[in-house]
């Protein structure tokens, strides 16, 4: 425990690397597979050092064949291993959606529970890096709509490590979404090992006037918005961390306190995760609300390239500030 008290500063991406390294040391069945994950250490260097430590048997670089290696991982999970699949950009998983959804996410239930698929799909996503539509997809809402796979979206280095370790130990398929803008964000964390359980939200900032539920990088935008409104509007920020299963208890408790709700995501708002949170609150806590709830997300377009367009299409801190003021101006 003494060791745990000792703090150090690491990147979000280092936290992910540490989680894999520790879990591979702990459990011989865990292996990593994906494009460029071996000698190169992954295009974003998230698997750096793993092949040197564990060898090519447990760290497998693949050809650019997403359907084949995602399917391979699903089959390996069905037959006793615990794969971690790196998907270079989540956009690339779209060529393997059959393997991801029809196969990996569905097989446990279709088999009446006879096969288990303990596997993690790690993929990075994000906007604001000017990479255009096919390298900027927000993928979470689709997979929340898919039964049979959990969806995790860490927004801090502490959670990145703790959630990934829990995801690797989970007996279900887990989609673990890494935000590339956060990769080089530094954060003070403990030494040693810790776990963050799946399905438990984090209260990022306490406030009395409005609940802002935000995911991934939008958590940081929401916190910036809250800071800029401080003294005028007291904003509470809830980070679900796991989108499915969703910790409704924490969200409802917050809405009970504030009676106002804004949900923010960087992905397309139409039929998305934010709308799902509002559905759940409407069904499970309608009377807690004194203000109409609002979902804030991206325009209904593929992510545009031009910085001017991309920044306009994705909710920014200023949009969150403005929307908070709008919500609170509409008391019922």
């Amino acid at each position: 425990m003494a060791k745990m008290q000792e703090k150090r500063t690491i990147w979000y991406k280092t936290a992910i690397n540490e989680a894999m390294l520790e879990e591979m040391e702990r459990d011989e069945r865990v292996f990593v597979i994906g494009e460029d994950v071996d000698i190169f250490g992954g295009v974003f260097k998230i698997t750096k050092g793993l092949v040197e430590k564990f060898g090519n048997r447990r760290v497998r670089g693949t050809p650019i064949s997403e359907a084949a290696f995602i399917g391979l991982a699903a089959g390996a999970a069905m037959t006793g291993l615990r794969p971690i699949v790196e998907i270079m950009y989540v956009d690339f998983a779209l060529v393997a959606m059959d393997q991801l959804i029809n196969q990996a996410a569905s097989s446990c239930y279709m088999s009446g529970g006879k096969v288990r698929l303990p596997l993690v799909f790690r993929g990075q996503y994000g906007v604001g890096t000017r990479e255009a539509a096919q390298h900027s997809r927000n993928f979470e809402s689709w997979l929340v709509n898919t039964p049979g796979i959990k969806v995790v979206m860490p927004s801090t280095a502490y959670d990145a490590k703790g959630l990934l370790k829990s995801a690797i130990r989970d007996d279900n398929p887990v989609l673990y979404l890494e935000n590339r803008v956060l990769y080089t964000q530094k954060e003070e964390v403990p030494r040693g090992e810790w776990l963050v359980p799946l399905g438990v939200a984090a209260l990022r900032r306490e406030g009395a006037d409005i609940t802002v539920v935000a995911t991934g990088y939008a958590v940081h935008k929401a916190l910036a918005a809250a800071a800029s409104l401080a003294g005028r509007i007291d904003v509470e920020v809830v980070d679900p961390r796991t989108l499915d299963p969703l910790d409704m208890e924490t969200i409802l408790k917050s809405v009970e306190k504030t009676s106002a709700l804004l949900v923010v995501q960087e992905g397309v708002v139409k039929a998305g995760f934010a709308a799902e949170v509002i559905r759940r609150v409407a069904e499970e806590g309608f009377d807690l609300l004194d203000y109409p709830p609002v979902a804030l997300g991206a325009w209904d377009v593929p992510v545009p390239f031009s910085p001017v367009l991309e920044d306009a299409a994705i909710p920014q801190s200023e949009d969150i500030v403005r929307t908070i003021q709008e919500v609170l101006g509409k008391k019922r």
Binding site: R57, F69, G75, M78, N102, Y109, S111
Partner: protein, 319 residues
């Protein structure tokens, strides 16, 4: 290859079991106690039988939408398979999967598949597991000429060869992809040739001759157990029935009939009778035993309870 009389008779019994099972399914489907999409294996029995005869219990089989024959040949569990086709709690997948999703991992049956070509990448995972653990297990993927035109086919051949995985690709070239004849779906009819171009040893056999299939599969499996990497087997056969129980299809006049002389049961039976391994009364005895077994299977399915929609495992995917 010397195939013992015992194995030959065992295979004859499996061919008959699969055929009569499918006929029973057809009957129960028409009566309404079997429901949903049913893809019958009639005509192709020698492929599943010959290949699975070459396997051990802990070898993996990844099956297809037309998977009753694979499931029977690998597990012989006709009772739970029948109950699954009826959507019952006593079914092989507890009524969650149905005809296309038969799972019995304890006997190496890793599921059928509703997506043509969808199971091919999964089979690489079974082979990867075996290689990772250092066991002598092999993985078999069954698929059709139709699946050979999916992207997963090419991706999987390359990856299996690259990783030297012990996976046996078994193409059941049954001449039809849904209702489209292979000549109208496939530019180059030599499917095994495609595997060769990826560096796999590939052979083509008469998929209606169970002895030929067994011999080819046994050889490939033995080489794979000796770490020779993946292998490919194209079995030429013919789908007698329509694609699916509910979609009748059309054939050239006389085409279906021309395959009756190539019936896998008939071919083996004639050989065994000619060499004196069986007599007509032995075959009659097998038929009688199989009929009783299938009556029992149908009764088991009919009497099995429906799944309980309120039970937690039926409502949630979390394990």
């Amino acid at each position: 290859m010397d195939i013992t009389k015992k194995i030959k008779i065992e295979m004859l019994r499996k061919l008959i079991l699969i055929r009569r099972f499918e006929e029973k399914v057809k009957e129960l489907y028409n009566q309404g106690s079997i429901i949903g999409a049913i893809h019958l294996y009639i005509g192709q029995e020698a492929v599943a039988t010959g290949v699975c005869q070459a396997l051990q219990a802990d070898d993996y089989v990844f099956s297809t939408h037309r998977g009753h024959g694979h499931a029977i040949a690998k597990t012989l569990d006709v009772k739970t398979i029948m109950a699954e086709l009826m959507g019952k709690d006593g079914g092989m997948s507890r009524g969650h999967g149905g005809s296309m999703h038969l799972f019995e991992p304890d006997k190496g049956l890793m599921g059928g598949n509703g997506i043509v070509g969808g199971g091919v990448p999964l089979s690489l995972g079974g082979a990867f597991s075996a290689q990772y653990r250092g066991t002598a297990q092999v993985s078999v993927t069954f698929f059709s000429d139709g699946a050979a035109n999916q992207g997963t086919f090419g991706e999987s051949l390359n990856l299996a060869a690259l990783f030297e995985l012990p996976v046996l690709f078994v193409c059941e070239n049954n001449q039809y992809a849904a209702t489209t004849p292979v000549k109208r779906s496939t530019a180059e009819l030599n499917v095994a040739g495609r595997a060769e171009s990826y560096g796999l040893p590939a052979s083509r056999v008469d998929g209606n001759d169970v002895l030929a299939v067994y011999e080819a599969a046994s050889g490939a499996v033995a080489r794979m157990r000796a770490k020779s990497g993946p292998a490919f087997l194209e079995c030429r056969t013919y789908r007698i029935e329509p694609h699916c129980g509910i979609i009748p299809d059309e054939r050239e006049p006389g085409e279906r009939e021309s395959w009756h002389e190539r019936d896998p049961i008939l071919i083996l039976r004639r050989k065994l009778e000619a060499e004196g391994s069986v007599e007509p009364k032995d075959v009659e005895a097998i038929e009688a035993q199989v009929a009783a077994q299938l009556e029992e299977a149908a009764a088991f399915g009919e009497s099995s309870p429906w799944p309980d929609p309120e039970a937690a495992h039926n409502r949630s995917w979390v394990v």
